[in-house]
Amino acid sequence: MLALQILIDGFAISALYGLGAVGFTLMFGVCGVLNLAHGGIMVIAALAGWWVAADYGAGPYGGAAIGVGVGVVASFVTYYAVIRPIQRSRAIPAVEQEIFILTGTLLWGIMLQVGLDYLFSNNPVTMQPLLTGVVRIAEVRVPQNEILIAVLCWSVIGLLSLLVNRTRIGKQILAASINPRALTLLGFELSNIYLVVWTIYGVLAGLAGVLLASFLGASADNAGALTASAFTIVILGGLGSVPGSLIAAYIVGYAETLTAYLIAPTLRPIPALIILVIVIYLRPQGLLGRR
């Protein structure tokens, strides 16, 4: 009973962690960008979705759709206003681009968070659940919304995998993550591919934000913690590795759930961090990362 409860509970939360981290790791793998405004983009999507759903009667589905759209817009703004100017700047040496992108996205993330605080207050909001009601699995009561979220997360991850492995643009994205120069030599414009990746990223981050808001609730003040959580998972799984991120999401999700159930809710974040430290020392490239 307790075991089943842990199993079910951990599954949904891990799926959500996974969805949040997949976009983050894809972005790094293909574009080489560690976007520290990640949490900000998730939250702006969540808050925008909640706002139109609650104040303009868009309903849960309309709200979710608009939230995802806002996520895409925010992703483009991040790319055009922060990333591209840094990548094109002649004054920034190539070896230092990384720290500039980190600092730039960090600042942009702070601006998003503070701006959202101003507009929406820092009170957490919850999207209306897409489904209400609970079902019983064995003796465990499970909200239908939780099941829907897990299903949605995995569907989107599955769609992404289909896109990458079965479509032409997907192959280009995969190829760009392996060898961008070769792709140029084959006549593909990298800038177009990057634009597609930023779009996918916006959809993933936006959807993760909206689902998070409907499952656990979201507020602007969560932005930093959400970035940190995606970051932790991606490092654990291996920078740039999508399957690694999914595995890591489940490790973190279950480590947290097990701790919360079996030890104490207060200690929830600790084991994941300890696992992370051990992995970084023994295998700095992460579980499935390549050097």
Binding site: L107, I110, V114, G224
Partner: protein, 307 residues
């Protein structure tokens, strides 16, 4: 030293030190308080720049070192030690912790060093919260002693410490050790081929950075009467330090002080616009980084060739 004569730096420094020294003559207690905090942040920023700008290591965890110093000193003070000993003790704890972190972490290349330092902060945060009975958790830990309750005296402590730390850190950066550090940061293989033990020098840089971070953290604790997570350990503080250095000019050591004063002072001056002050300050810093990537001091001191 023809290089020094050509540079406007000494003049600028002299004016700034004189202005800073004379500040209590015409600033009221409130602004002295702001500068006091800004000066401690300036030391944090200089210590960080020594690691980043010179040894080439991005340390996302300056607040790990600051936190060790602050909480170390606070715990000792609560244990009955006199304040000056506590400050020294906090700094020693910070150095020990910093070296214990750096020695294994420096084996890692690329972004992984930075990640370990980041995780170190997260762990420290969690431990402070878990051992709330001793550390005060998220509220912060009260300490029995304070440096002084006079704003002017506190200002002098901070200013004096800033000047001493600035002279030492800037001197180090311009010394033989600074040159070697630059070499280890720019080209590890070349530095080794020239006979330098890269790890030894980087650990040394980490220890110096830890020493000043820890000292500043401990002194800030005794200035405020509390060691607090959200002012000394939280990641947002690390962010502020990094932004201060990037804004003021990385690799200049002193630029971090300018950046810190900018961040603290303008955040404060913009307080009348309410909660949006942070938005504006972050926006300005972002613009500086995008369009003026060498930072304020980096621009002023940029080497001008051929004249």
């Amino acid at each position: 030293m023809p290089g020094m004569l050509r540079s406007p730096l000494p003049l600028v420094l002299l004016v700034l030190v004189l202005a800073g020294g004379a500040a209590p003559l015409w600033l009221d207690a409130y602004y002295l308080g702001i500068f006091t905090v800004a000066y401690y942040f300036g030391v944090f920023a200089m210590s960080w720049d020594l690691l980043f700008g010179f040894a080439g290591e991005v340390n996302f965890g300056p607040t790990f070192l600051i936190g060790l110093g602050a909480y170390g000193a606070g715990l000792l003070n609560n244990g009955g030690w006199p304040m000056p000993l506590c400050i020294v003790g906090g700094a020693v704890i910070s150095v020990i912790g910093g070296v214990a972190l750096a020695v294994p972490a420096l084996r890692l290349r690329g972004p992984y060093f930075g990640l370990v330092t980041l995780v170190a902060v997260l762990l420290l945060l969690d431990f402070i919260v878990i051992f709330a009975a001793q550390t005060g958790g998220e509220i912060g830990m009260m300490v029995p002693d304070v440096l002084s309750i006079s704003a002017v005296v506190n200002y002098w402590y901070a200013f004096g410490f800033l000047v001493i730390a600035g002279v030492i850190l800037f001197g180090l950066s311009r010394s033989a050790l600074g040159l070697i550090l630059q070499a280890t940061g720019q080209d590890r293989v070349e530095a080794q081929a020239l006979g330098f033990n890269v790890t030894k020098h980087k650990v040394a840089a980490f220890a110096v950075s830890a020493l000043f971070s820890g000292l500043a953290g401990a002194m800030l604790t005794f200035y405020q009467g509390t060691a607090s997570v959200d002012q000394m350990v939280d990641l947002s503080i690390a962010v502020q330090i990094i932004i201060a250095v990037m804004f003021g000019g990385r690799r200049t050591i002193l630029g971090g002080v300018l950046g810190s004063i900018f961040l603290v002072l303008f955040d404060e001056l913009l307080r009348p616009i309410g909660q949006l002050n942070t938005f504006v300050v972050s926006g300005v810093a972002l613009l500086v980084i995008l369009f003026w990537p060498d930072g304020v001091l980096g621009y002023v001191l940029r080497p001008r060739e051929g004249r």
